[in-house]
Symmetry: C2
Subunit: 333 residues, 2 copies
């Protein structure tokens, strides 16, 4: 559901990896339907990725499924529930349209994999409880920093360790701008450069004002630590008001300014914040430059474990969706 950059990259990836997935995971994905706001393309017997990517190009001739009152699941008709992949645009205020899609899909017996932050920011708790009640999976790696395995690292690689604090560089645009500023480029020029390179959105406010980082920090905190944060609980400061000389001076002193999403305990309570921070060379995220991201977990028994890199473009998000599907498949197999 949703056929923007991420949806297209996902179908391309499934097509590209068709044989490899069979060989390595005995997994054969059958694509049953594609739904967009204007209509849909589906087949009860399955559409091959070839059909998909050829037909679903700019000239996609969709059947007009939509009429008032119809939801995505009823549009799917008698299609046997499988995995519902939600890739509509994120709206972190309302969660829509993804929130309704995911609720409907879970009620109808579909496992859900989503790249969409909105529904998770607005109601992760409700969605998880709905999934749990129906014994369905709800996975969202792509919504928590794409191919950077923020959630897998915490939930799988650190199993048995207690997480004491979390720090992350979770937004590529702001990290790119700050890296450029460290090298002497002014904020407006660095941002324009990021836009020209397709790194920053045309409207970059969600990124530069820190809200994209806040949304990911919330999703990580609520899913990994079991918190119940709302966006309003997070103190958010972006990068728009950093004096231009600060990143330069930091760099000259062998330090760096980074926009960090942080989760830590204060007086027994977890607190979440997003703000630019001066970090030292010895900080595990010091070397995360340009559009790269990274996250650092400090634990009681495993020390500090940091994961960095991971493509943050649509292909990286598509790879994260595919990973979630493989994990669901391994579970239900």
């Amino acid at each position: 559901v949703g056929f923007g950059h991420v949806g297209k990259a996902f179908l391309g990836l499934v097509r590209e990896k068709r044989e490899w997935l069979k060989t390595h995971y005995s997994l054969e994905l059958r694509l049953q339907a594609l739904l967009v706001s204007a209509g849909g393309l589906f087949s009860e017997s399955g559409i091959t990725p070839r059909d998909f990517t050829e037909k679903a190009g700019p000239d996609l001739n969709l059947s007009s499924l939509w009429r008032p009152g119809l939801n995505v699941v009823s549009a799917l008709g008698k299609t046997k529930p499988g995995i519902f992949v939600e890739c509509t645009p994120s709206n972190i205020q309302t969660g829509e349209p993804g929130l309704t899609h995911i609720r409907d899909a879970l009620k109808a017996g579909w496992h859900v994999v989503t790249a969409n932050k909105g529904p998770l920011v607005v109601d992760l708790k409700g969605l998880r409880s709905l999934a749990g009640k129906n014994s369905l999976a709800l996975k969202f790696s792509a919504a928590a920093a794409a191919a950077l395995p923020t959630l897998d690292t915490a939930l799988h690689s650190l199993a048995g360790a207690e997480i004491l604090s979390i720090e992350g560089i979770l937004n590529g645009t702001t990290n790119y701008v700050l890296t450029q500023m460290g090298e002497g480029t002014g904020y407006p020029e660095a941002l324009r450069e990021a836009q020209e390179k397709g790194i920053a959105e045309h409207d970059p406010r969600l990124d530069v004002e820190g809200w994209d980082t806040a949304a990911k920090t919330l999703i990580i905190g609520n899913s990994v630590l079991g918190l119940e944060l709302a966006l309003g609980d997070i103190k958010v400061e972006g990068i728009t008001r950093i004096p231009p000389e600060l990143p330069i001076r930091a760099r000259q002193e062998g330090k760096a300014i980074k926009l960090l999403g942080r989760l830590g305990r204060s007086g027994g309570c977890w607190e979440a914040a997003v703000s630019p921070q001066l970090i030292e060379r010895s900080h595990p995220l010091f070397g995360v430059n340009g559009t790269n991201k990274g996250i650092s977990y400090t634990t009681d028994s495993m020390g500090t474990v940091t994961v960095t890199g991971g493509k943050s473009d649509p292909r990286g998000a598509a790879a994260a969706i595919l990973k979630d599907i493989i994990h669901i498949f391994a579970r239900v197999q």
Copy 2:
């Protein structure tokens, strides 16, 4: 089995986390037996961690179980098979005594978690096949860089991505020595310092000649990439012959010398090598200094994902054992 630094740390950790494991994983571990070369301590009804750590101190009064021809599993008598934790010292030439222990345990129906590199270096393929035939788990996170999640990252976090190459700083002693050398300390002084701090072994040859790194590179290549490397297939060069001015000059130029275990393809075939390499500031392992470790996976669809840190002391290894047990429990639950 085995009650050295790692075995002791593991029992300490289980004792410390008893209540936390119940709350977070509904997991209650019952310790049934402790076997060392001189004998054993066990109880069919279970020994509490309290009994263990109190009785199994330096004054441990073991029942003398051993007689010629007895193996660890027959020593366990009628104990119902659970998880067999192998922590005897590594011998990467013969794999013994761990190799025989693990074979016997798998034949008798025990899941196996091991911190011991030896048996895996000598016969990972045979052990995996034995485990598979008996539908048992064989886990060895602690043998592949302790709390640094080298295997979990590749097998879980990167599921669905094809790994194109791997580079790792996998040995804390050599990384400490190289870091000190970069700051001007000579090799003999840096090594002596590492020994005094308890970082390097009394006999540091396995570390400084690159064999510990080679053993971990082999385990990672064979388990993650499905290779069938033997130690003799790996070109191994340690850090003993690095001219002292090299790390200093590297540091002055903003670069670093690191002992890397590497797996990459050359002409369609995978090749493994261990050698000191000059890396640039932009290399994802550049910031891994002192006793820290790190591993970098370059993939087709997720870009390069790097994980660094993770305690490499006995407590870190113990935490990796506990993680493996939690993963087995989640599977058999």
